[in-house]
């Protein structure tokens, strides 16, 4: 069972005061800590478990600058066999459509039974690349996958729906699944483990190797783009109630009555 996993290096944003950068379209990167996208982490773990059960190879691919190699190395330390990084300054500003196009160009030369991606990215959260990639490759796909059971060339997957419901699908391989968090418990990767794979080769590809030109990618090749980013407007409607518990309860009841809720 040969598996490909597409991963992304993203900034951690919880608790950080985010600042818009000088272009107005991105974040100031100073002081941001980067790591593998949470959903992708589950995907890599799942891929390695599949390999441990069925044998085969796992390849991880990322699109990014040299710094992105730490997420690849971490995946190698987890037990992934091959790591590929696509890099080209022209890819800056690429939307999900273009990223999927680039990934498809890499994948066309790699044999696979299954492709895994995360449901979405921690930073922009479009939830687009995986499904678009499946379409480019002409294979079946399922999103929000919480369980994969493989039997020869068929799989039974569970999908997470709203309201705590689940859907069970029969999908024929080759296929692409976007992995939902919680599908497994990712193992810990130690510093020694990462050091052990420090010398392992990471294949670096550029656009020309993939048969793509700069105007196929980046802002030029994209279908959508960000015009600007801005902090959410502060809602003026928050009111802080003061007083003892009885007083506050009375005030709240008053507000509800006036609003016609009770």
């Amino acid at each position: 069972m040969d598996v490909i996993v597409c991963i992304k290096r993203v900034p951690e944003v919880a608790e950080v005061d985010l600042q818009v950068d000088s272009t107005g379209k991105g974040l100031q990167k100073k002081d941001l800590v980067f790591s593998i996208n949470d959903w992708d982490n589950y995907a890599v773990e799942e891929a390695v478990r599949i390999k441990e059960k069925f044998g085969g190879t796992v390849t991880v691919i990322t699109i990014g600058p040299k710094e992105s190699e730490d997420v690849l190395r971490r995946a190698l330390a987890l037990g992934v066999d091959e790591a590929v990084r696509v890099t080209d300054p022209a890819t800056e500003g690429s939307d999900g459509y273009v990223l999927a196009k680039i990934l498809a160009a890499v994948i066309k030369d790699i044999p696979y039974d299954l492709i895994l991606t995360g449901v979405q990215a921690d930073d922009d959260g479009y939830a687009q690349v995986g499904t678009t990639l499946a379409e480019f490759l002409g294979i079946a796909h399922a999103t929000l996958v919480t369980d994969i059971a493989i039997e020869e060339k068929r799989t039974k997957v569970r999908r997470e729906l709203e309201g705590g419901m689940e859907e069970v699908l029969d999908v024929e391989l080759p296929a692409l699944f976007t992995i939902q968090s919680g599908i497994n418990e990712p193992r810990y990767i130690s510093i020694f483990g990462i050091r052990k794979v420090a010398k392992k080769e990471i294949k670096v590809l550029d656009l020309s190797t993939l048969g793509l030109s700069p105007n196929n990618v980046g802002e030029e090749g994209s279908m959508i783009g960000i015009s600007r980013i801005f902090p959410p407007p502060v809602d003026k409607r928050a009111e802080i109630l003061v007083g003892g518990p009885d007083e506050v309860a009375a005030k709240v009841t008053d507000i509800f009555e006036k609003a016609g809720v009770i």
Partner: protein, 159 residues
């Protein structure tokens, strides 16, 4: 300008909340762009439900087939690709739900239209649609621009 198409989402015979939100927004956008609103419903035995909502739009399209009974991105994509290519709408609205996430990116690619996902607001500016979405765990908002195209697709965040 082409019509605005809203894909109605339903599950087990019930319309989902997001559908009403999209219809409401669709009405608003149709007015602003002086165009018509069309709702689309795919499934089996959904004509009755479609009847209930037909007053909300200029027209309601229903596609009935055994194979469309339950949501499945393959047949839905096939039907909608054909429908969109035929009708040339200016905007297609799909819910950003488990259903929509599975369908929209592949559908947009198949039809060849720009897609902006998980948008909480859509404005009209200079006759163009301007979607807004959140990023970085909700800590930032982003204004999105589409590439020039006669048809665009947006998945709508519920709420």
């Amino acid at each position: 300008m082409g019509e605005i198409l809203v894909l109605v989402e339903h599950r087990k015979g019930e319309m989902r909340e997001i559908s009403f939100e999209m219809i409401s927004k669709g009405q608003d956008l149709a007015k602003k762009t002086q165009t018509e609103l069309t709702t689309v419903m795919l499934g089996k035995g959904v004509v009755a439900k479609a009847d209930e909502i037909k007053r909300f739009a200029h027209r309601t399209l229903v596609v009935e087939d055994e194979r469309l009974t339950n949501f499945n991105s393959e047949p839905y994509q096939a039907v909608l690709t054909s429908l969109i290519k035929d009708r040339n709408p200016s905007l297609v609205l799909i819910g950003h739900t488990a259903f929509g996430m599975d369908l929209a990116p592949a559908l947009a690619t198949a039809v060849g239209v720009p897609l902006a996902t998980d948008c909480y607001e859509i404005e009209v500016q200079g006759g163009d649609f301007l979607p807004y979405r959140q990023m970085f765990g909700g800590k930032m908002c982003a204004e999105i621009h589409f590439r020039e195209a006669p048809c665009k697709m947006i998945t709508v965040r519920s709420g």
